[in-house]
């Protein structure tokens, strides 16, 4: 196994070298005669240069062939189906597809890995943010999934929140359809960027009005880092998988409350 990977690596490496040298050939050809070829016998110099480059390419090709012959073919055939041919697609607009395919494989792989780790950790440390006093009958009734709800439900929730708090301007965007990211800004002072996972609040970050809308970077300012902390606390406190709508709503109330306290503090 170790050896296989080593060989695969060296094969990939030699392919890389080959590609880069082929690129150099084309580059040189596209440049044509350059100033540094001097004046006398510049054609000859150019041809010599080209010949040299081509020889390198030849050598690299030999290397590639050698390293490929060293590889042990995998036992079972890959079941990529017709998608294998995507890599050989020549039309430009479809070349991107293969890359996307590979990427999605990569991501699903990562997700699998992370969820396995997360599963282990969660199994070892059971922490309950949830009310466990529900009777079995009730639980059966509310056993619907919170993170896979139709978009309209979330849409309704957001518009109702928007109507509820007049001081808060809410703008929504949906990088992934069922999981909107809303940006709730208050005045021209601060804004909270809230990411939903279905009906659950997944992530909250509070930033200054002038800062970027990036969900992953913290605010530059201490004030807003503190407010973010408070919001996180509120988010955890009100989390309830059984009544997600209520959770979101009460979170928003607290969020607005924090806002107003904050503004009071500002304006004395």
């Amino acid at each position: 196994m170790e050896r296989d990977i080593e060989q695969l690596n060296s094969a990939l490496n030699s392919v890389k070298i080959l590609r880069s040298n082929v690129r150099r050939v084309f580059e040189s050809v596209s440049n044509g005669l350059r100033a540094d070829h001097g004046d006398d016998g510049k054609e000859n110099k150019f041809i010599l240069e080209l010949q040299e480059l081509l020889t390198t390419v030849n050598n690299n090709l030999r290397d590639v062939e050698n390293s490929v012959s060293n590889l042990t073919p995998p036992s079972g055939p890959f079941s990529l189906g017709n998608t294998t041919y995507l890599s050989q697609e020549t039309t430009q607009e479809r070349q991107a597809l293969y890359g996307q395919l590979v990427n999605s494989y990569k991501w699903t792989d990562k997700i699998r890995e992370y969820s396995a780790v997360a599963g282990n950790i969660l199994a070892a440390n059971s922490f309950n943010k949830t009310y466990k006093t529900f009777s079995t009958t009730k639980r059966r009734k509310t056993q619907t999934s919170n993170h896979n709800v139709p978009p309209e439900v979330i849409e309704n929730l957001i518009t109702s929140i928007d109507r509820l708090f007049t001081d808060v301007t809410i703008t929504t965007n949906r990088p992934f359809v069922p999981n909107p990211v809303i940006q709730a800004s208050l005045g021209r002072v601060l804004k909270a960027i809230i990411a939903f996972k279905g009906l659950m609040i997944e992530w909250v970050i509070v930033k200054a009005h002038a800062e970027s809308n990036d969900l992953w970077s913290e605010s530059r300012y201490k004030v807003f880092r503190k407010v973010t902390e408070n919001c996180h606390a509120a988010m955890c406190h009100f989390h309830s998988p059984m009544m997600p709508e209520l959770a979101v709503r009460s979170f928003m109330v607290v969020y607005c409350y924090i806002f107003f306290v904050f503004l009071k503090m500002y304006k004395k």
């Binding site: 601060l190 009005h209 300012y221 004030v223 500002y266």
Partner: protein, 208 residues
Amino acid sequence: MGVTILTQFPTENRTGPQTIDVLSKRIMALGAIQQGQFLVDCETYTSVQQLGPQRTVHVLHNSEQPATVFSLLETGTKTIPLATDGLFDLLMMKMSSFYTSKKQTKAESKGPRYEIGDFCVKLGTVTVSSNFKGILVEVEYRPCVVPAMCWDLLKEFLQGFLGLSGPTNPPAYLQNRMQEIYSPIDTIHQYLEHFTLFRKSPVEANVN
């Protein structure tokens, strides 16, 4: 970039360095950390006669925005701001036959720069053509961009460490812009106002 308030601090009968010393001790006591030095300078050019009615161009640099040159053009009736790349200075040299500078008017404010939480405090010694003129204290509250929202906070902070000499009202320039979004050029406007006053004032007696 947050809201900035610029205010003059009276030297009374101390020298410039002594005043800076007093102020920096106070701000350090509040828990501020010094973060380098700062410099704001201003060069003034006036139009030559052949160009018609006289106009004035003030070219300012602020070390907080080191790659930018700020210019303010005064026509007598209005002031037009302009922000450009650093090469604007080169262009002013090209314009030397239309706009000339008087060497006596070069004003600058420089000194230590402190950070304390989300505030940034700068203690500037002002010189006009290398004559000491006074002390300017700049306080910036960075998370907020609307002056009206944080004026009270800034006032409290300023009075907290300047004592009674802290401002009680927003700077004149900001007074009718309290609801607008603050930008670096507004700081430049405030500096120019103070520099213009300093230029008119007589040279202070306690030159060090």
